[in-house]
């Protein structure tokens, strides 16, 4: 079957998380400056990367939708963005916890990634209100795709602009994620894989649920029931 099997994905995700968590708690060294709290980095940054990829994937699916007029691409775009929104909230929460632990404030403006995320989330938060404000389903899908493409292009540009605006006098709170020593790098990569698998699994679940609901509606209509 072309579509990844739900069972395989779920098992892979659970396995990856087990490995990742073991590495985080038992293998990765405790960071000198920030202490134990730094370990949230292994959750926060993979979540951020996966969320941003999710938004961009949503934009790419939207392009496919506009070019092929196939509603299935719109469904994929919707699920990707929807899931990224949820993951994005987790990014903001974990980022806030980390900032509080390292810097003493629940929010810091001097961390460009976090600030960019806030702006992006504010933008994508309008995605669902936009969809629900359009009644015609075909037009709703089309307008949502236009939005997804515009917002998807906005993600990298926003990061660029905010990073430029960050004051270089302030040391970055959350530290750079490059130049990691080997044990940390390994733990990071495994965590990244685990979060990515989680995203893929949850998206596949949601897609399957939505497809089933659509099939059910179509069948009941043919049989003459009210949907």
């Amino acid at each position: 079957m072309r579509r990844p099997s739900l069972r395989v994905l779920s098992i892979a995700t659970i396995a990856a998380f087990c490995v990742s968590l073991s590495l985080v708690f038992f293998y990765a060294p405790i960071e000198a400056e920030e202490g134990f709290l730094q370990k949230i980095f292994y959750l926060h940054v993979p979540l951020a990367i996966v969320t941003l990829c999710g938004f961009v994937i949503g934009g790419l699916c939207a392009i496919a939708h506009l070019r092929t007029r196939d509603q299935r691409w719109d469904l994929r775009s919707y699920v990707a963005i929807h899931m990224s929104l949820i993951f994005g909230v987790a990014v903001l929460i974990t980022g806030s916890i980390w900032a509080r632990g390292s810097w003493g404030h629940w929010w810091v403006w001097s961390e460009p990634t976090l600030v960019s995320f806030l702006i992006i989330m504010l933008l994508y938060a309008t995605y669902q209100p936009l969809r629900f404000a359009i009644e015609d389903p075909e037009r709703q899908a089309r307008y949502a795709s236009v939005f997804a493409i515009t917002a998807g292009a906005f993600v990298p540009m926003n990061f660029l602009a905010v990073r430029l605006s960050a004051s270089y006098l302030h040391p970055r709170v959350l530290g750079s994620s490059s130049n990691l020593p080997a044990p940390m790098a390994l733990t990071f990569l495994v965590s990244l894989a685990a979060v990515a698998l989680l995203f893929a699994t949850l998206c596949t679940y949601e897609l399957a649920a939505k497809r089933t609901r659509i099939l059910l509606k179509a069948r009941s209509r043919i049989l003459g029931y009210q949907s």
Partner: protein, 242 residues
Amino acid sequence: MRDIEVQTANGRTVEDIVAAVELDGLTRNYGERAALDDVTLKLDAAQTLVVFGPNGAGKTTLLRVLATLLRPHAGKVTVLGAEFPDDAWQVRGRIGLLGHDPLLYRELTARENLRYHARLHDIDDELVERQLAAVSMTSRAEEPVRTLSRGMVQRVAVARATLHDPELLLLDEPYANLDPAAIELVEPLIGPSSGCTRVLSSHDPGRGLAESDLVLGLRAGRVALLADATGVSTNAVAELYR
């Protein structure tokens, strides 16, 4: 492609002989509901098709699909030789739509509105004046549309719809808001004597049947009646509304 027009013996051109409108299984959905479901018909050039049906039957949707404003979701639509939606852009300038909305800006005058449409169609301003004269609106042409009565607005709308001399007229209940004198006035522009191919939606069986060559009855988006006008009685039309 259209620069050379071959004239046949009785004055009709080659394009006239090709069907003006050909629908084959046209379907247009609105979500899960079908606004138009498997509509098939063929309308020859210079003929009139009248569409009857209760509200919500799909009459306006059909007209808007033919006007290139709505894409067909399934089936084949060929209008004036162009297949929709890919070639729709080729025939836009040859179609005139007169819908429920006059498509006029209320703050602009009749003349300004018509000039705007003329420029969109790359037509000279003097034709605007002739259109205004044809609908007897020259004296009121300098007043904002919002000051005009419904009947006058409809007359200006007729002028707008026929400004670019279209070959195919799509008329959605065109005689509503017009008194008998006005109807007579616009007849040369949008009536049978205009010589255009016409698709006309109507709630008036008597008038509709008298003006048409082909009759289409729609119910819930489906074809309930399709016949030559000569074989259809007003009773048959009334059946559609039951």
